[in-house]
């Protein structure tokens, strides 16, 4: 328990400084949504149509930022040895890392998503579903992204390799989330896709830590 708290505190601390930190993620997100009207032209109709979906895709991409050093740093400086020999199994360590990453990186994004969508012209009624989807989705992204990062630890390449590994695996959550947002925007019931998204995320919560731990052990061996 004590150990868990200590680990969590450390991971939160590291997540703040990692990569661009939340600010870069948010900034990137803001830049994307701010840039889109330019690319689309001010014609708000076209914009409104894609607002929700685009803010959702942007969130998926933004959550890839700063994933690279999730495990790589600890591996390089030997801290991963330490983490592997602690009282908690590596699976738990990996899970805590992802949760911290999510709290620091994903939750702010989730909070920003509705604003982005609305500023792009989505109906303000779409805010709650977008928030829900974004919160769930960013957790899923953090977990799967963490798996990619853990696999890349043993590799000579990071960055795009992680993205390439992770993005295809993200197809289901992106679909479910996009559908929920679209349904909400269209005033249709959005609970079904949200339920799908929740189920997928739950599965990820169960399985991703196993994969991450296995990948780390592999890198350490």
């Amino acid at each position: 328990m004590n150990a868990l708290r200590a680990l969590f505190a450390r991971e939160m601390d590291l997540a703040w400084g990692r990569g661009g930190g939340p600010l870069l993620t948010l900034g990137f997100y803001a830049a994307v949504t701010a840039m889109l009207p330019l690319a689309l032209g001010p014609s708000s109709a076209r914009l409104a149509a894609v607002a929700g979906g685009v803010s959702w895709v942007a969130l998926a991409l933004a959550s890839l930022l700063s994933l690279e050093s999730l495990f790589a740093r600890d591996f390089d400086d030997g801290a991963l040895d330490l983490l592997a020999m602690g009282p908690l199994p590596l699976e738990a360590v990996a899970a805590v890392k992802c949760v911290a990453q999510w709290l620091v990186g994903g939750v702010p994004l989730a909070l920003a998503a509705p604003l982005a969508a609305i500023s792009l012209g989505a109906p303000s009624g779409a805010a709650p579903p977008i928030l829900a989807v974004a919160a769930l989705g960013s957790l899923a992204f953090a977990l799967v992204g963490g798996t990619g990062a853990a696999l890349a630890v043993a590799a000579r390449r990071g960055g795009l390799l992680i993205a390439l590994i992770v993005l295809p695996l993200l197809a289901p959550p992106v679909i479910f989330g996009g559908a929920a947002i679209e349904a909400a925007a269209g005033g249709a019931p959005w609970t079904t896709p949200l339920a799908f998204l929740g189920a997928w995320t739950l599965a990820a919560v169960d399985l991703a830590p196993l994969a991450m731990a296995a990948a780390c052990r592999n890198a350490l061996s």
Partner: protein, 238 residues
């Protein structure tokens, strides 16, 4: 069966015979299938383009088979640590990627006349594209780890994660497609395919699978030899 083949020597013995046999079978099946298929009358709906089906659909089927094979091999490697299983998984990836690519290309060559577009975001097309990306990711990951054992385990983990996710991807993509009642008219044929097309299709399909089997075995054999050679070279160096 697999347990028996896990032993490299037994596998080498078995595949030395099995691979050529499968290869010949593949040649026969594909040749026969195409002969029948090309002779078949043009489809009232699709005209002559239906001939593409005989190279397109089998490619798509085989692509999925290949991923299944890769995933299964990865599973055996992770659980039972059979080095041979790793060689097999490694060997399956480029073949699977090629078949997937063939499905994509022939598919869009079919789509152009049928839909007037090289590509539409139809469920099957999309899931095949995702399948292709999974293969590419697997190969990219392996390629960037030069320690054979580590590359194997990392790849196996990824392949398994993908294997678990694959049905979900297929489901989600189909569901997504029905949401948007996609613009595809991929209904052509399908289950209610006239025997004139169905028979050759099944023949070529079987042929493609056999061809994959043969190539897979040979590639695995090559990998086994490569590792033996690497080991010997290192032993000589020390």
């Amino acid at each position: 069966m697999i347990a028996a083949l896990a032993n490299p020597h037994r596998f080498m013995g078995f595949s030395r015979v099995a691979a050529p046999t499968l290869g010949l079978a593949a040649a026969g099946l594909i040749g026969g299938g195409l002969a029948l298929g090309l002779a078949a009358p043009p489809d009232y709906q699709q005209g002559e383009t239906v001939k593409i089906m005989f190279v397109h659909v089998p490619a798509a089927w085989t692509a999925m088979l290949a991923y299944g094979a890769m995933g299964a091999a990865s599973f055996f490697f992770l659980v039972f640590r059979h080095g041979l299983a790793d060689s097999a998984a490694k060997a399956a990836a480029p073949l699977g990627a090629t078949f997937t690519l063939l499905a994509l290309i022939t598919g869009s060559l079919w789509g152009r006349p049928m839909w007037g577009a090289w590509w539409v975001w139809d469920a099957r097309l999309t899931s095949v594209l995702v399948l292709f990306l999974l293969f590419v990711g697997y190969m990219a990951l392996r390629a960037s780890i030069d320690d054979e054992a580590k590359a194997g385990r990392a790849g196996a983990i990824l392949a398994l994660v993908g294997l678990i996710n694959l049905p979900i991807i297929k489901f989600s993509v189909d569901w997504w497609n029905t949401l948007h009642q996609g613009e595809s008219i991929l209904r052509a044929g399908g289950p209610l395919l006239a025997p004139v097309y169905l028979v050759p299709l099944l023949l070529t399909g079987a042929g493609y699978c056999a061809a994959f089997g043969a190539l897979w075995m040979i590639r695995t054999r090559a990998e086994v030899w490569r590792r033996r050679a690497a080991g010997l070279a290192l032993a000589a160096a020390l």
